[in-house]
């Protein structure tokens, strides 16, 4: 009987200790989450983005370059990168948007956009896509870009070239995308956004087989 009592006392002590540890952990976690990291990109090394505090994030992209960051004012980092998801393959360089929480995601699930320039059909060399990419910068923000705009024209199923604007920005901490066809009224309005934008130089590519 004494042994049983001793066992229960010991069990209670262990449970109490565990609860205390858990509370401490929660407190620690809370204190950590209250300190928001500022992601100032210094450079890239292979698939890594390197920050000013020497921390680094592996994007798992190949031939990766950092172009700019998107921001909605809340301070979350959305890095605009160029690269490809495989190395020994025929994938064209593309634009990706990457956040520090994306490190656990397969690269194939990253939001992917075409790299600006001209793209020709690999079988008949006909032009199938053409775009210019602009980075829009908010006057209030010195370090972060606010939106990306593709001014693009692509071959439709009816073999005609369709023009559109494609805008990507960050809203409520999420990527927001908007396509506006040249046939829409607000197309011309949106063209005004291109004022004071910086263009990312395009390249010529062949479509992926």
């Amino acid at each position: 009987m004494r042994h049983i009592m001793a066992f229960f006392v010991l069990l209670n002590v262990l449970v109490a200790c565990k609860n205390q540890n858990t509370e401490q952990n929660i407190q620690t976690d809370n204190s950590q989450s209250s300190v928001k990291k500022i992601w100032n990109v210094v450079k890239t090394e292979n698939s890594f983005i390197v920050f000013d505090d020497n921390s680094r994030i592996n994007t798992k992209l190949f031939d990766m370059s950092y172009l700019c960051s998107l921001c909605d004012g809340a301070g979350e980092a959305f890095f605009v990168l160029s690269g490809r998801t495989c190395r020994d393959c025929d994938e064209n360089i593309a634009i990706f948007i990457f956040t520090p929480t994306d490190t656990l995601k397969p690269v194939s699930e990253l939001p992917k956009y075409t790299y600006p320039g001209k793209e020709y059909d690999y079988e008949n060399s006909q032009l199938i896509y053409e775009s210019k990419l602009f980075v829009g910068r908010n006057a209030n923000s010195k370090s972060s870009a606010d939106f990306l705009i593709w001014l693009q024209s692509e071959k439709s199923n009816s073999n005609k070239m369709d023009s559109s604007i494609f805008i990507v920005d960050v809203f409520n901490n999420k990527i927001r995308e908007q396509r506006i066809s040249s046939r829409e009224q607000k197309y011309k309005e949106k063209l005004n956004l291109l004022k004071n934008c910086k263009e990312i130089k395009g390249i010529e590519t062949i479509s992926e087989p």
Binding site: D88, P106, E109, Y113, T114, S207
Partner: protein
Amino acid sequence: MRNIKDLKRHYSVFNRSVDIGSAFDIESVEYAGDLSFYGIYPGDIQLQNWKVISGSSSAGMKLRKSISEGFSLYSYNLWGQTKLVLSIGDPLLTGNDDYGYIRGNPTAGAYDGYFEFVEWAFKGRGGSVNFGDYKISSYELRDRLENFADQTGYDLTVVGGDRCAARNTAVGGSKGSRHLYGDAADIIVKGTSNRDVAIKANKSELFNTTIYYPDSKIPEALHPHVHVDLNPRHDNVLMIYKRTNGSNRYFLWNP
């Protein structure tokens, strides 16, 4: 008769749908056993349009050899579709795992490619496919890659598979890429030239498109590898990639 366990390695080869194209003639067939368990009765087996290629051709010899060593070959008609079955031993005795189907379209005329298949299936050179982290949605392509590895003994490494479409394009751009349809793969074989791999892939007739990406000293050029796909608009097309005048180009290739 060879021990069934010895043939297990090659079982996976049989348990696949293999397109044998325009079929072949068979004269006599060794019946594999009672297939009533599977809803197949002797009346379902139609052999009148089939005959064996005997003669002295090496192809015929290979077929006879395979039958004498425990393979059985027969056809049957199931729901209006004629099927050819290659069986190792008696399916009821050896279990479901030990036989499989080869689907074909029996028409007149010999099909040499089939006999190559028998030889390969029997000898099983035992290559492998390492898909790594790359996903290939098409089961057909996955099968054909393993088939190709078995035929050649190559240890294939997949270095590119399914891709997502760029989100800013609607219908153009690289939307025609077979990587977006899940039936394309980029492969390499360590220790083997990509040229040889591409030529063998094309000769195997397992893929609708094969593209050879040679090693290039131009930094902007795509890395060396071999692309294979099941593009339905192509029929065993062999192409070569070149980086010329600052841009990528593809040409039909006749090595």
